[in-house]
């Protein structure tokens, strides 16, 4: 089955810098989503980009999608300490009567240093 794979696996930057994480996947998708998991907390949905979209913004987040390369990137601008978390991309896999399940990558561990 398809799988999102994040790159890099770990990223450490200074507060205020921008952070870029990449995700690659293997098969065609309807949409791609990014989630964040703070240590010990649940998954928080950040943004969803559909296959016919190329770029989407939400606050300090910018997501791009290149379906020809089967890749996506998440850019966090002006990083803050609170952005320290693991970030996952998730693609959809349609199976039964159009229902979708999410296929996640292993995630990128982002650390923002003060």
């Amino acid at each position: 089955s398809q799988q999102g794979e994040e790159d890099p696996q770990a990223l450490s930057i200074q507060e205020g810098e921008n952070a870029t994480m990449n995700c690659s996947y293997k098969t065609s998708i309807n949409n791609l989503q990014w989630y964040r998991q703070n240590s010990g907390r649940g998954l928080v949905h950040l943004i969803l980009i559909r296959s016919n979209e190329r770029e989407k913004h939400s606050g300090r987040l910018r997501v791009t999608l290149d379906t020809s390369k089967k890749s996506s990137s998440l850019l966090i601008t002006a990083s803050r300490a609170a952005d320290t978390a693991s970030y996952f991309c998730a693609t959809d896999e349609t199976y039964f009567q159009g229902a979708q399940k999410l296929v996640f990558g292993q995630g990128t561990r982002l650390t923002i240093n003060p």
């Binding site: 799988q3 999102g4 309807n30 949409n31 989503q33 989630y35 010990g40 907390r41 649940g42 998954l43 928080v44 949905h45 969803l48 996952f88 998730a90 959809d92 199976y95 039964f96 009567q97 159009g98 229902a99 979708q100 399940k101 999410l102 296929v103 996640f104 990558g105 292993q106 995630g107």
Partner: protein, 114 residues
């Protein structure tokens, strides 16, 4: 509106014991999903309920795992007997009727099998 809740937040058990995890979806959400993240690997789909019916349980690792959703409200995931490799974080998610691409995740249950 209350989000998805999971209980317990953390469970530590011995190998061979039984553990039951509970998930309460957002009210009115017919779709309920279980995922898990084992040993820092990717988050993997376990199964999907629509109301009380299992739509897809292809991700269930083996017959030591039993998920139920009697009455179509909350769901339980029982592991019996637990093995060391079952340690990880178990996430539950829910979505409204007819919507499966946007799933709302709970905080997860961290299971530690000693």
């Amino acid at each position: 509106e209350a989000g998805v809740t999971q209980f317990p937040s953390h469970s530590v058990i011995e190998k061979g014991q039984t553990v039951t995890l509970r998930c309460d979806p957002i009210s009115g959400h017919d779709n309920l999903y279980w995922y898990r993240r084992v040993m820092g690997k990717e988050i993997k789909f376990l199964l999907h309920f629509v109301k009380e019916s299992k739509q897809d349980e292809s991700g269930m690792p083996n017959n030591r795992f039993l998920a139920e959703r009697t009455g179509g409200t909350y769901s339980t995931l029982k592991v019996q007997p637990a093995e060391l490799e079952d340690s990880g974080v178990y996430f539950c998610a829910s979505s409204p009727p007819g919507v499966t691409d946007t799933q709302y995740f709970g905080p997860g249950t961290r299971l530690t099998v000693l």
